[in-house]
Symmetry: C2
Subunit: 339 residues, 2 copies
Amino acid sequence: MATHQTTIIDIARALGISKSTVSRALTGHPNVNGKTRQRILDMAAQVDYQRNQLAISLLTNRTGTVGIIVPEFISYFFPKVIIGAQEELARSGYNVVICHSNESYETEVSNAKALLASRVDGLIVSHTKETRNFDHFKIFQRKGIPVVFFNRVCEDMNVSNVTVDDYNGAFLAVEHLIQTGRRRIAHLAGPDTLTNSRNRLNGYRDALTRYGIPVDPELIISYDLNLDKANIYVNHLLNLPNPPDALFAINDPTALEALSVAKRRGIRVPDDLALIGFSDDPISAVIEPGLTTISQPVTELGQQAAQVLVRQLLTKEDEFQPERVVLPTNLIIRGSTVK
Amino acid sequence: MATHQTTIIDIARALGISKSTVSRALTGHPNVNGKTRQRILDMAAQVDYQRNQLAISLLTNRTGTVGIIVPEFISYFFPKVIIGAQEELARSGYNVVICHSNESYETEVSNAKALLASRVDGLIVSHTKETRNFDHFKIFQRKGIPVVFFNRVCEDMNVSNVTVDDYNGAFLAVEHLIQTGRRRIAHLAGPDTLTNSRNRLNGYRDALTRYGIPVDPELIISYDLNLDKANIYVNHLLNLPNPPDALFAINDPTALEALSVAKRRGIRVPDDLALIGFSDDPISAVIEPGLTTISQPVTELGQQAAQVLVRQLLTKEDEFQPERVVLPTNLIIRGSTVK
DNA sequence: CTGTTAGCGCCTTCAT
DNA sequence: ATGAAGGCGCTAACAG
């Protein structure tokens, strides 16, 4: 169904002038006779002329497009980050191409290749939980295309990244549990491929240690974030001879799953089991009891990632200094930890 | 920070051969000597060669890219549609560029122009609630670029569209309310710029009429879907001298807002007021009481839109016949209508 | 103020 | 099996 689209040559021919003049009129170049310009603009409007961005990009070696790769966008988190980034990028005149890797390493690689082929000017990424090899992102670096990681970052690449303070968030969460009287605090952690999982785990450990509570490896379970399996691990914890009196989950969906298991087993929350999540999912505010959680400035995460990228886009390659932005996290107390 | 990217000319020069041969080797053309081909492929891998899609698209007048414009993507609905569409389009070798208009007519127009400039091969759209003028989409049609509307469609354009059966969904919802004993059934409707709002309103009216219940205009309120205002309308309805005993809301977020108002006012749901929504938002399943609602096959909506578009992409322009796909809706009964 | 020319990176005839 | 040449649509010198 491909058809010929009107070009500046068509307009030039129709008006009996050269395509240079048409180009100048259309781009607002001053050196064009007023009347000629008007004739050209009228004709362009009449035939629905739209500049061919492909040709311009090919010529200028700039697409004005930034790629964003996220592992998923069903949960409210990534869409909100994207919106923040997009607003900010639009302000600087950039378009956005969104790819979702669906938590698949292979898809992520193919996304990266496609963005490279379409010549994006920069890249914003949160990688999949399967990603251990970052070669597909290193190509961008080698070609001088700025890359900014957010949320899940790559520590052995010399690139900018924007995160929230996962360590402190986890620390606050566990501290809160301790201060409300819990002593056997379990942690249902994420995979150790993810920086944020590791940081949250460290925050959990340090909070316990800080308050003189021994870290019991039996109470720490790492899992792959496949929600179907969360209930297995929760049940396992609750079946221990000496079960936990509190659970800090890697994220809200996991905590909500735990809440549902507890309800099914007739375990009272927060009396018998206190629950705390991470991310402040919209559901956490409406469920009964409300889920205590750690909130993070989601939209700002996207904005900051975009700002860091734009700054880098304006920097000469030899002056590049990677930036590390860390945004604060907050404890939101609800009914799953206190009455 | 723009740098030179490796081209086939660089490879050709390095190997002392012509760029034609390099091009042939890279595209898998048979007429290339086996050894030469291998040398070329090795060199390409070594220098991270990535084909320049811009140049190819310019040459072939095909980008292999489809644009999707949605009014928002915070709610679970549009992301899920996009995922469905993307999977299906990927299967046919198309990439996707996602734009969100943020329910703003102006942004939508500018999105459409940008997609036109970047020469997408096709367009999938759900328009904003402000959109009354569809000229920016008609340009695509005139240029022979297929457009498929979904969810919110444009009735006076001769294009394909994919929707769910809003009319029947609304009918089922109201019928359910009637069959559970309600007689004063209010409808908090959406703006009449949206086809789905209008269809749901018609389903509501017809169900009442069908069961011999007079349609009371006092019980029908159209609003702009700005959730902050929903509670005003709900309160207004509940303050009527003869208040409703049931409310059918245009969508789940609106119904959930109504539920929260009812709770605040001490009105018992479902005893004093039955509530029913539309769309089966994830929150509706977890809230207390659960929200009765109309579910729709969201991912399939995206898949179908993509399939219709791909078919059209393969059709000659003079053989084009617009398709109208309507997917079924289902009543999901929860605690907000029955004990 | 306007036209001519070159070239961005690639594929595709047309020769050889 | 390979090379040379043309052109996709556009902008940017360079002439006039």
